[in-house]
Amino acid sequence: MQEAFQLLANGIVIGSVIAVAAVGLSLVFGVLGLINVAHGDFLTLGAFTALVFVGLGLPLYVAAVPAIAAGALAMGGLEKVLWKPMRDRGTSNVNLLIISIGLALVLRHVIFWIFGARVQRFGPVSERIDFGLFALTPQDIIIVVGSAIALIGTGLMLQKTRIGTAMRALSDNKDLAEASGINVSRVILYTWVIAGALTAYGGVLLGLQGRLFPNMGWFLLLLIFAGVILGGIGSAYGAMIGSLIIGVAQEMATHSIIGLPADLKTAVAFLVLILVLLVRPQGIFGRRKAI
């Protein structure tokens, strides 16, 4: 029993990291219909930016600030110099997806080139604290709390602010948003900036959860996609829930009763994804589209 609670706790920790990253991906997809393959590498960007400032002697919670700024600036900047000009030229979403793969490679290799392949840490991992049914490191607790704050903040932004409502409006119907007088280009830019900030922050949490290396975000990308799709593509709330389910499912799969080797846990996450989609093709919170 204790093993199950421990795995559940571990699943929630990794699920929380995936959730923060997935919401950013989902926001961009909802507003633009773009599947950004480079999304994972923006996590890496966030993590390594924080690492630079940690290296300068700043505590991690301070170093997270320039990391978040770097993510926001990078995604917002790319909207200005890359995505918007491409869309204005009528580039199809398939072509944009291919471009995002190229962007992913560029980002990863620049990070590799600057920081090398060496695995690094923000700092030593502290001793686990025993909560009876499970034990977590202080870092794990920071991840869960930090993720909850970001997710609640994003939810409030989407629900209570004018820009958030406009983002949801754009995700519903971009043409109608334009016809209502909404400055669509500006809302898209803000969406990128918010997604960039969230993603870089997710990268810091990911680094806190384990180690930093140039492929860290790329390796998480499939799980992020799984969370987004499971929750219902384009639904930010779905992405949060879907990610937690994916995180918990893959940890639970290693329970001694199930007895799967840890190497197979990612496969289990995808098995859950497939099973859910067989029953609910639009995902948990997704809307069924008319054919």
Binding site: T165, S171, D172, N173, S180, I182
Partner: protein, 259 residues
Amino acid sequence: MAEANGPNEAREAEEPKEAGTLLLEARDLLSGYVPEVDIVRGCDVEVAAGELVSVIGPNGAGKSTLIKSLFGLVPVRGGTIYFEENEVTRFPTHRLVEAGIGYVPQTENVFPTLTVEENLEMGAYLRPKVIQERYEELFEWFPILAERRSQRAGTMSGGQRQLVALARALMLQPSLLLLDEPSAGLSPANVDVIFDRIQLINSKGVAILMVEQNAKRALAMSDRGYVLEMGQNRFTGPGEELLNDPKVADLYLGGRAKG
């Protein structure tokens, strides 16, 4: 009352505008979705302040394309468009909204996951300060929306969604409302409701240019009508006159080319 205000000045639609002042004027309009294929081929359209004008015509005549061209949603290749005496040809849509034109598309005209209130809020995105004040008037015109202000628009019936769409387009107090087949797909009872509301809106001084399949009813309630065929306006005149014109009847009853 209807002199050309600057586009950013608030317009008061309290009292009906004096009819006769030209609000919208399109000359020799050429437009179409694909390069070199003109759907609208030399249309002239005029709407005076406070007027209710219908555009009718067989399927494929270019009615919807015409209204979308006027609102910057279809590329205009030739001709000129004036609104309140300023040239607005090829203005981006959001500037036309700013200038005082509202538009309701034929389909997908609400934000389905947004509540009624949020739909209306998006209609006033350019001027959020007016939102509360506009709710009061619009909820009076559309009482059903007041009852359902927290309901998601996507869960409403077709007729109610049409009301949400109309209210959204009226949030900025436009002096001209463009309607693309407002009665399409509605039950007869809902068609009555929608036409009734359109007349109410018009009676409050908002000029309306509406494209309609339901030609007889549209002409019967309009000050003037245009009959479009093959992207050109063949006939124009007072609604009643067109309604009784044998040539217009022939154009419909003769079953001209579709598509």
